[in-house]
Point group: C2
Chain length 420, copies 2
C-alpha cells in the first residue's frame, strides 16, 4: 500500500525548516520525503491533496493515565486529598476491564483528534488497554506502575508479554513513586532493570511534600535515592519533575533521564511550576505529557506545549524566554525517544509514518512571522486536520476513521454510572 501526500508544506522535525514537498508512505513507514519535485510520482494506491497545509510529525504524550477519562471533571472542587479518597479511589475499586477498554478508547479518540499518536500509559487492566490501542490504531507504551499496594509480582510477566504483543504496543519498566514503594520493592525494580538492561520510569518530585517526605525517610531526594539503588543505570525518566535540586538535575543529566512535564496537571493540583528553561539549559532531555483527563482535564498536547513555553516565565527564578523550537521537539521527538519509539521522531525515509496534517489556513496561524512560534503559542486541536499512525489514517477532517465515537460516548456514559 503506497500513499502520496502532495501539495504540502513539510516540517520534518530534523531542523527548523519548513519546505514545500511531498510525503510518500509505504505501508507503515515513510518511503520518502520529496522536496525537489523531480521524482516521478507513480503507482500510488492513494493520493491525498494536503491543500497547502503542513505535514509534521505527530505529538507524543509522554505521561498519561488514559482510562482516567472516567474521572474528567469529577469533583474538581475537591482538594487533592478529598479528590483522591472520596472521588477517585472508590471508583477505581469498581473498575473492570470493560470500563478500562471503553474509557481508554475515549482517551485515545481525543489523543488522535488532537494530533497525538503515542501514549506512555500508566494504568490498570493492560490487556484492555492494549486491545483498545490496536483497535483504534494508536501506539501505546505501557509504563509499569506497581507499588506497595500491588503489581510487583506482575511486572516481569507483563514486560515480556506486552513487548511481544503487537507492533503498536510495548512495555517499559516503571513503578508508581518512591513514596508508595518501599525499599524491598524498589530492590525488585532495580534487579529487573539490571536483568533486562531496561530503563525505568516513575512519578518523581511532583510535589514539595513528596520530596520533603523522602528526605525525612532517607536523608536524600527521590532522584538521588533511586539512582543510588541502581534503578536508573539503564536510563529512563521521571514524570512531573517540578521540585528538583541541583543534585537531582545532575543525576538526570548523568543518567540521560527524561524529565517529562505535566504543566496542566501541576496547575490544577497546585503542585507548582517546573523550571523548564533551567532544565533545557542544563542539557536535560525533555518530553511532555498530559497526565490524563482526571487531573488535566483534557488530553490536549498543544495546551501542554504552550504552557511549557510560557509558564515558567512567572517563576521567581525565571531566567529568560524559552525557544519554542525546543518545546515543539519535546512534544514530538522528545516524547518518542523517552518511550523508545525511536523511529517515530521525524519525517524521513525509513521512519514510522506517524504524522499529522496541520491547518495553515486557520486564522490562528496567520500571518506567518514565525511558523514554529505560531504552532507552539497559538496552535490547538482545532488545527489538526488529519492524523496518521503507522501509515494508517485514523482521523480526517472531523471524522475518526477506525472507531465509532458515538458508540464510545454511549458506552462511557453507561459505564460511568456504574462507578458512583
Amino acid at each position: 500500500m503506497r500513499t502520496r501526500y502532495f501539495n504540502a508544506k513539510i516540517f520534518t522535525g530534523e531542523d527548523r525548516e519548513i519546505r514545500e514537498g511531498e510525503l510518500w508512505v509505504r505501508d507503515d513507514k515513510i518511503e520518502d520525503v520529496v522536496f525537489d519535485g523531480r521524482k516521478s510520482a507513480e503507482n500510488f494506491d492513494k493520493e491525498v491533496d494536503c491543500d497547502g497545509n503542513l505535514l509534521m510529525p505527530s505529538l507524543k504524550d509522554a505521561h498519561t493515565h488514559t482510562a482516567m477519562t472516567f474521572a474528567r471533571s469529577l469533583a474538581d472542587e475537591y482538594e487533592l486529598n478529598d479528590w483522591l479518597f472520596k472521588a477517585i479511589f472508590p471508583r477505581e475499586a469498581k473498575l473492570t476491564a470493560e470500563h478500562v477498554y471503553w474509557f481508554t478508547l475515549l482517551g485515545f479518540a481525543e489523543n488522535i483528534m488532537s494530533g497525538t499518536t503515542a501514549c506512555f500509559d500508566m494504568y490498570m487492566f493492560p490487556e484492555a488497554v492494549a486491545k483498545a490501542a490496536v483497535d483504534i490504531g494508536i501506539r501505546n507504551v505501557f509504563c509499569g506502575s506497581p507499588n506497595d499496594f500491588g503489581g510487583m509480582d506482575l511486572i516481569e510477566e507483563r514486560y515480556l508479554k506486552f513487548n511481544e504483543y503487537d507492533p503498536l504496543v510495548s512495555y517499559k519498566m516503571g513503578f508508581h513513586a518512591e513514596y508508595t514503594t518501599n525499599q524491598d520493592n524498589l530492590k525488585i525494580i532495580s534487579d529487573l532493570a539490571h536483568k533486562y538492561n531496561a530503563p525505568v520510569y516513575t512519578h518523581i518530585s511532583e510535589t514539595k511534600s513528596e520530596v520533603d517526605g523522602c528526605i525525612e525517610r532517607y536523608g536524600k531526594t527521590p532522584a538521588v535515592l533511586l539512582d543510588e539503588m541502581g534503578i536508573f543505570d539503564f536510563g529512563g525518566g521521571g514524570f512531573h519533575c517540578v521540585h528538583f535540586s541541583d543534585e537531582d538535575i545532575e543525576v538526570f543529566k548523568k543518567r540521560g533521564l527524561y524529565t517529562v512535564f505535566n504543566a496542566c496537571s501541576n496547575l490544577k493540583l497546585s503542585s507548582g511550576i517546573a523550571p523548564v528553561r533551567k532544565y533545557i539549559d542544563a542539557g536535560l532531555k525533555i518530553a511532555i505529557g498530559t497526565d490524563g483527563a482526571g487531573s488535566n482535564n483534557s488530553l490536549d498536547m498543544f495546551r501542554e506545549m504552550y504552557l511549557d513555553a510560557v509558564l515558567s516565565n512567572v517563576r521567581e527564578d525565571k531566567d529568560g524566554i524559552i525557544d519554542p523550537y525546543h518545546i515543539l521537539k519535546a512534544g514530538i521527538s522528545g516524547g518518542a525517544y523517552c518511550m523508545e519509539l525511536n523511529d517515530s521522531d521525524v519525517l524521513a525515509a525509513g521512519k514510522n509514518a506517524d504524522f499529522i496534517l496541520f491547518d495553515m489556513k486557520h486564522p490562528n496561524m496567520n500571518p506567518v512571522n514565525n511558523l514554529l512560534s505560531n504552532i507552539v503559542y497559538s496552535g490547538s486541536p482545532v488545527n489538526v486536520l488529519m492524523t496518521v499512525c503507522a501509515g494508517k489514517m485514523l482521523y480526517d477532517h472531523g471524522k475518526l476513521l477506525t472507531v465509532d465515537i458515538d458508540e464510545i460516548n454511549r458506552q462511557c456514559s453507561r459505564l460511568v454510572g456504574d462507578l458512583v
Copy 2:
C-alpha cells in the same frame, strides 16, 4: 426572519442548569427559549438541527488589541523592552488604515471561529476597525486609548461618532495607562467621564514596576490615584489587574469596576498571576480578555478561561479551588456587562441572539460528570461548531460565512511584508 434551533441542549447562562430545548430567533433577538416542547413551532424561515449539541451564550473578549494579529509570533524571543522598541513600535509607525482593516478582520475571524462575538478593542484607525466589524458581523466596543503621545483631542469626537455608527459598534471612554498619561491628560479624561456620566477603562497594575513607578510619582497606587481624580465615578474597569493592594480591591469594589484578566499575556510577558479567587471572594466584578495576538499569541478565550480557573493555584497565597461556573460567567456575561452589552449576557426572550453551538460529541466533553467543568477545563475552539451574532450565523462547521478567509490571509500575508 425567524430561525428555529432545535434538538439542542441549552445552557442559558442564567443558572447552572442544562436542559433540552429549542432556541427561537427573530431577526437579531432571541424570541424565545422553549423547554416544554408544547409551543407550536411554525412559520420559521429556517430550521437548524443542533444534533443534540449545546447552545450557550457566546464568549466576550473584554480586552484586546485586535489588529495586533500583525505581530503574532513576532520576535517572541525578545525581552519586553526589545520586543516593544525593536519589533512592535517601528511596525506600528508604518501601519495604515488598510493594514488595520485586514489585520482586524483576521483577528475577528479567529474570534468568531473560537466562539467570541464581542471584542473590547484598544487600537488605532477606529474607522477601519468599525468597518471590519460591520463587514464580518461581530460586535466591536472601542475603548479609547489616548496617552501623552496622542489621541486626547479625539476622544470626545470618537465617543460621539462611534456610539451612533452601527448597532454592532459602540465606544467607551478610556486611556492607555497611568504611566503614559500625565495629570493634565488624566484631568481631561475625568472631565469627559463627568460630562457624559461615562465609565472609564484603562490598563492597570499589569506589572509590579508600573505600580512601583506610580507610588514613586504620587505616593499611591494607580487605582487609588485614578479614583481620587474622579475617573471611576461612573464605573468602568481595569485591564490586567495583576498587582492589586487590598486598598485597590476596595476601590474596585466601591466603584463597581471590572477586573479584566489576561492570563496568557501575563504569562508570556512575565507580568505575574492575577489572584483570581481573591477577587471573586472580595465580590469584584470579573471579565476575561485575550490582550491581542501580539502578546498571547492566539485569541482563544477557552485557553484564557482555563488559565483563570487553574493558574492562581500555584500562587504562594493560593486560597482554594475556583468554581468553574464563575469563570464561565466571567467569559460570557461578565465580559458583556463590562462592555455594557447588557443584552448579550444570557439566552432569554428579548436578549441579543449572540450564541454558539458547542460540540458535545467530541471526546473532550465525555463523559459528563460535570458539563460546566468540562467546558472550562477541557473545552477549546475545536468544540465551536457554530457562531451566531445579532441573529446572523457567522460560522458554521468549519466555514466562515461572511468573509473569505483565504482572501484575508492573502491580504495579511502581503501587508505584513510592508512593516518589516
